[in-house]
């Protein structure tokens, strides 16, 4: 309660000081100027971002980009919003995929990235950026509002040693969910595994990406990309089919639910569950902790729903520039973004982290460097996301209040997998609750 009281206090008291210090200063700026960048990543990825900033700082002497790890994505966003209300926001904020709707819904708080790059004459070639990425972060007029930084997509990892042991061909991994079922049966039959497969970020991998991969909508108005009036429709027969099948797999011990977020990771890494749907950016962590050979392939699909899969969508984070700073500071932000979007930096970041190369030229460069011959998994992710021309159902999603909206989906999935509720009933209920959240958001952004 004390912690809570403190947080409430910070959020509530600070607005009274809002913008007291926001007036443009007349004094000459002192170089180097500090640019604050708040991120929601930690560990090796956080360190890598700090290293990139250090490189930029060493390249020039006018700006110092100061990277501050603010806990997880949700904490970074909450802190930045509290700081904004206090009139002291960071210059750059990393926001996760589900927070994108909130940022789009509050244009007063941000400085759109396309505008920033235009205002300060920095090149920002959006044509070079992958279509799926551009679509995810653009407004209705096709302008990029945030800087795509760490985008990933889920892929299907599998334990090669386990496949061999169970007499399965590791060069012929499952393509459809029927294959997954069959492989899981064979793997579980060896008696060495607690289940055949699991997945992380359950809603992202098996609701959002399931829908895009099968070219079916999650919500109306192109999954909310065309307006806040969207309504959820993920209680369709196709969604019910998938959820029912997963519940059946869980009942038969073929599938083990590992929890929300990345909680399922240890199941795969410890060699307990040999098939695993996870982010392409999970690669580094897996490679570091497992003592078995592993590989990855495309997500499985249902041939009943689609003849050949569409394309997967991205998740991860993008960088938003917050409103309320001086021209001279924004100049530095624009320069930093130019550095970040350079082909070399993008390619190095992609190769280090397993996040997608954001631009076609970074993809090209990585290919030329022969990186994919060494680690073909990284190419799997980008080939999957560019598999087909994106449709209305596979450009991405943009729902307001989606932190809660996603939680509603997870509640339903957990009720279904535990066998507490039928898939249709649980999804109907989730759609109803989800739509209430969408309407609530629509009301808060109407002004």
């Amino acid at each position: 309660m004390r912690k809570l009281a403190l947080l409430v206090c910070v959020v509530l008291l600070l607005p009274s000081f809002a913008f007291a210090a926001g007036e443009p200063e007349v004094v000459e700026p002192e170089f180097p100027l500090e640019i604050e960048m708040w991120i929601g990543l930690g560990g090796a990825l956080g360190e890598e971002i700090e290293r990139m900033a250090a490189d930029f700082n060493a390249m020039q002497d006018e700006y110092i980009v100061n990277v501050i790890e603010q806990g997880d994505y949700a904490e970074a966003m909450t802190s930045a919003i509290a700081a904004y209300r206090a009139g002291n926001p960071p210059h750059i904020l990393q926001v996760y995929d589900v927070g994108t709707g909130t940022m789009h819904g509050n244009p007063e708080a941000i400085y759109p990235v396309y505008q920033l790059m235009e205002d300060y004459n920095r090149p920002f070639d959006t044509d070079d950026v992958l279509d799926q990425v551009t679509a995810y972060y653009s407004d209705l007029d096709g302008n990029m509002l945030s800087f795509p930084f760490n985008s990933s997509t889920p892929i299907f990892y599998y334990n090669v040693d386990a496949f061999r042991e169970a007499g399965l061909d590791p060069n012929d991994p499952p393509e459809t969910w029927h294959d997954v079922e069959e492989y899981a049966e064979a793997l579980v039959a060896t008696g060495n595994y607690s289940a055949g497969f699991t997945f992380q970020w359950p809603s992202w991998t098996n609701m959002e990406n399931f829908s895009a991969w099968h070219d079916i909508p999650m919500g109306t108005l192109a999954n909310g990309m065309d307006g806040w009036g969207t309504e959820f429709v993920y209680n369709s027969p196709e969604h019910v089919l998938h959820m029912e099948a997963l519940a059946d797999f869980a009942r038969r011990g073929l599938f083990q639910y590992g929890g929300r977020g990345s909680a399922a990771g240890p199941l795969f890494n410890a060699g307990d569950v040999p098939m695993y749907i996870a982010s392409s950016a999970a690669y580094a962590g897996i490679a570091e902790s497992v003592d078995f050979e592993f590989n990855a392939t495309f997500l499985p699909y249902w041939p009943e729903i689609i003849d050949s899969p569409q394309n997967s969508i991205i998740g991860g984070g993008s960088l938003w520039v917050m409103d309320g700073h001086s021209d001279i500071e924004y100049e530095g932000v624009a320069e930093f973004f130019e550095y970040l979007s350079s082909t070399e930096v993008q390619a190095a970041w992609h190769q280090f982290s397993g996040y997608l190369p954001i631009t076609n030229s970074a993809w090209e460069l990585t290919r030329e460097q022969g990186f994919y011959d060494e680690i073909p998994i990284h190419n799997t992710a980008i080939e999957q996301i560019t598999l087909s021309e994106p449709t209305e159902n596979s450009r991405g999603i943009r729902f307001g209040n989606y932190v809660q909206g996603r939680s509603v989906i997870l509640d339903a999935m957990e009720a279904i997998f535990a066998g507490d509720m039928g898939a249709q009933a649980a999804l109907d209920d989730a759609v109803r609750r989800g739509n209430e959240l969408l309407r609530e958001f629509e009301r808060t952004v109407a002004r």
Binding site: M1, R2, K3, L4, A5, L6, L7, V8, C9, V11, L12, L13, P15, A74, E75, M77, T78, I81, Y84, R85, T102, G105, N106, E108, A109, S194, A250, Q256, Y257, G258, G259, R260, A263, A264, G265, P266, L267, N269, A270, D272, N401, V403, Q404, S407, L410, D411, A412, E414, A415, F417, A418, D420, R433, E436, E440, R443, T444, V445, A446, R447
Partner: protein, 295 residues
Amino acid sequence: MVTGKSVVFKDKGLPYLLLAPEVTLTAVFFIVPAVQALIMAFYREDAFGFSRTFIGFGNFERVLNDAQYVQSIWTTLAFSVAVAVITMVLALFFASLANNIGKKAIYYQTIIISPYAVAPLVAGVMWFFLMSPAVGVVAYALRLLGITWNHAIVPWQAFMLVVAASSWQRIAYNFLFYLAGMQMIPDSLLESAAIDGSGPVSRFWRITFPLLSPTTFFLAIVNTIYVFFYTFPVIHTLTEGGPNNSTATMVYRIYRDGFRSLDYGGSSAQSVILMAFVMVFVLIQFRYVERRVYY
């Protein structure tokens, strides 16, 4: 209770001055936020604070019409009862064993009290490593026994886990109070009962337990408050309120809706509901339970 003469300061300035730091801190960290939450509960506001609309009891309606929120009230109550009963029964049992056993008592007492020194967050992480379906030692042992442990999906397992983790730490606190209470009971009472032919069990139920009733009453209240507010770190590290909200207590919902989902109005309304809830709860306890307490 003891009633003494009240002492009055002659100089009026000094007492206020001495009270000032405490009052200021309470005001800044408790009173003002509480009032702010009370106000915020009646508004609809976007995350950044650009629009602020008065909507009367709209937030309360929205929250109370949410079946999952109502469920979280029941979860909180069940959680309180479970933790309070488990900790008090075990603490009483341990205290009566550790009382009057001579010089070695200090070792037993230290061992039983030691969990209290562990920070709740660390305790949560520790239980996580014991019970994790992937890497947990206990989960592995259970699997060998043919029991599938996966608190990520089985609601009753998740509930049991947070109850166990919260109780484990809380036993130490209860134990301390019971032990102190027992040591306050005059030996003469117990001795004369023994001379009259009363056995250890009947001495416990007829003398010790009734004389401990103020302690029991006090512990019942503080345990309830503990569960309402201070079990947050355990839930946060172990289950994050899941699966399907089965371990989401009222406080956890306030945090999740307010600080992760940025629904300030709904979260404030929940704070107000919680505040009312705890006040009524404590009132009932003082009004009805206290009557049965012997001082």
